[in-house]
């Protein structure tokens, strides 16, 4: 249907980005195709080795689902986006398609190596999230292509992760954010499969690969976590804007990466911790 309507037609999911943009005339689609009347798209399913988040699964569906208890970084993210009204409408897939550089899902799902199952007139394809976002507000999706589901590999046993976002209030996007996911090796408690991603750092969220490499194989001592945070900040290139100067954001990022890493380690050891977004 989207392909028949032409390139100016748009898909409507939660409408929590698109409707505000249409009011501002920043988006002027010729037609809207509303996904909300298709049933069965709002699922959050756990398979043996992956979690599949349907195209219409809302942030609050993810926050409430059992799977986000098992992969707590998902709940950290889902339960803190904006406010409950926005979470009751806005979808994970819509957030990724929107590709806002300050969006919360991209850094979190980058640490989990998420794949997007997309459907278009050319058929279906899997796109790694790494390759999906091209630039701020721009993805590799073709005009009539939709995200059918987001597929998230379940982290191996002994893993832990945490997401921390720093916001001025519930309704605004984060000023800076950090996601950390890692596995602790049972025998010697060294960090494996380390993934660190930062939000609000320029045009797209980005992995901090230097910091990941630094922490891999190391013991998660306070000193090592602080050094990893330092390495992550060296990688990062946040830009100055109304939310703060680049230097301020780097200071925030340093603390967020360190604290998210500490939480990830505690969770990997089996501790139950609440958390996620922090307001000033």
């Amino acid at each position: 249907m989207l392909s028949q309507l032409g390139e100016e037609a748009k898909l409507l999911a939660g409408g929590q980005s698109l409707i505000p943009l249409m009011k501002l005339r920043l988006a002027q689609p010729s037609d809207l195709v509303d996904l909300n009347f298709i049933s069965g798209l709002d699922t959050v399913d756990k398979g043996s080795d992956e979690i599949a988040v349907g195209a219409l699964a809302r942030h609050s569906d993810v926050a409430d689902s059992d799977v986000s208890g098992q992969v707590p970084i998902l709940r950290d993210c889902a339960s803190g986006i904006a406010d409950i009204q926005v979470r009751n409408r806005g979808t994970v897939a819509g957030s990724l398609a929107e590709a806002d550089p300050s969006g919360d899902w991209t850094p979190v799902l980058l640490t989990l190596d998420a794949q997007l199952h997309c459907l278009g007139s050319q058929g279906s394809r899997m796109i790694a999230l790494e390759d999906f976002i091209e630039d701020a507000y721009s993805t590799v999706l073709q005009p009539a292509e939709v995200i059918r589901r987001v597929r998230i590999p379940i982290p191996p046993a002994g893993s832990g992760g945490a997401y921390l976002a720093f916001k001025r209030s519930a309704q605004v996007y984060a000023t800076a954010s950090a996601a950390v996911q890692l596995q602790l090796q049972l025998q010697d408690e060294t960090c494996r499969q380390v993934r660190i991603a930062l939000g609000c750092v320029g045009l797209t969220a980005a992995r901090a690969t230097q910091a990941e490499d630094f922490l891999s194989g190391k013991h998660p001592s306070a000193e090592n976590l602080a050094s990893a945070a330092e390495a992550a900040v060296e990688d990062a290139q946040p830009v100055s804007d109304v939310k703060g100067s680049a230097a301020y954001k780097k200071t925030l990022l340093r603390a967020l990466v360190r604290r998210a890493a500490e939480r990830a380690v505690r969770r990997a050891r089996g501790e139950q911790l609440e958390g996620g977004h922090e307001y000033v």
Binding site: G15, Q16, I19, P20, K23, L32, D34, N36, S60, A82, D83, I84, Q85, V86, N88, R89, S169, A170, Q171
Partner: protein, 167 residues
């Protein structure tokens, strides 16, 4: 310049009563509720998905009705502040808001009541911080929130208490 925009018939159950009318596809749910269903308890504060004055329950979930199209509520159920009162009796949340001085100008109140209702339906016994999180999408420029939080706390106790009395 104004071309007639084709309208679509919709049917929405508002506070239990079916409401049928035609709307333009771009009509926002809040405008349908206020102007076509003539229920003006739901307010428009900002129209930018920020203030929460327009909060209603759509199919049991709180939403900002300025950021949902009316056509999206077709065949759905909406609950507004007018639906809180039952048989001439104010809802325990409304009574607690009045008793605890949780409103001054009252502009934010309908939205806050609906957010509080949604919160208590999901979590009948919320902590103070859960209440704060539950109403984070509703701005109040008058009260400073303290009395709103204590009103929700009191209403929760009362509603919980009433439940045990019924059992």
């Amino acid at each position: 310049m104004s071309e007639a925009i084709p309208t679509v018939p919709i049917e929405v159950k508002i506070n239990g009563e079916a409401c049928r009318d035609k709307v333009e596809p771009r009509t926002l749910l809040v405008d349908f509720i206020r102007q076509q269903a003539c229920l003006t308890g739901t307010h428009v504060g900002c129209e930018t998905t920020y203030c929460g004055a327009c909060t209603v329950l759509l199919n049991g979930r709180s939403v900002k009705s300025c950021t949902v199209f009316a056509v999206q509520a077709d065949q759905g159920e909406v609950q507004t502040v007018e639906g809180l009162e039952q048989d001439g009796q104010l809802h325990p949340l409304q009574k607690a808001f009045s008793r605890e001085h949780a409103l001054q100008c009252g502009y934010c109140t309908p939205g806050l009541l609906m957010s509080a209702l949604h919160l208590l339906q999901r979590n009948p016994c919320p902590s103070q911080s859960e209440i704060r999180k539950g109403i984070a999408g509703n701005l109040c420029r008058c009260t400073g929130y303290q009395n709103i939080i204590s009103a929700i706390e009191k209403a929760a106790q009362e509603m919980g208490g009433r439940k045990t009395a019924e059992e």
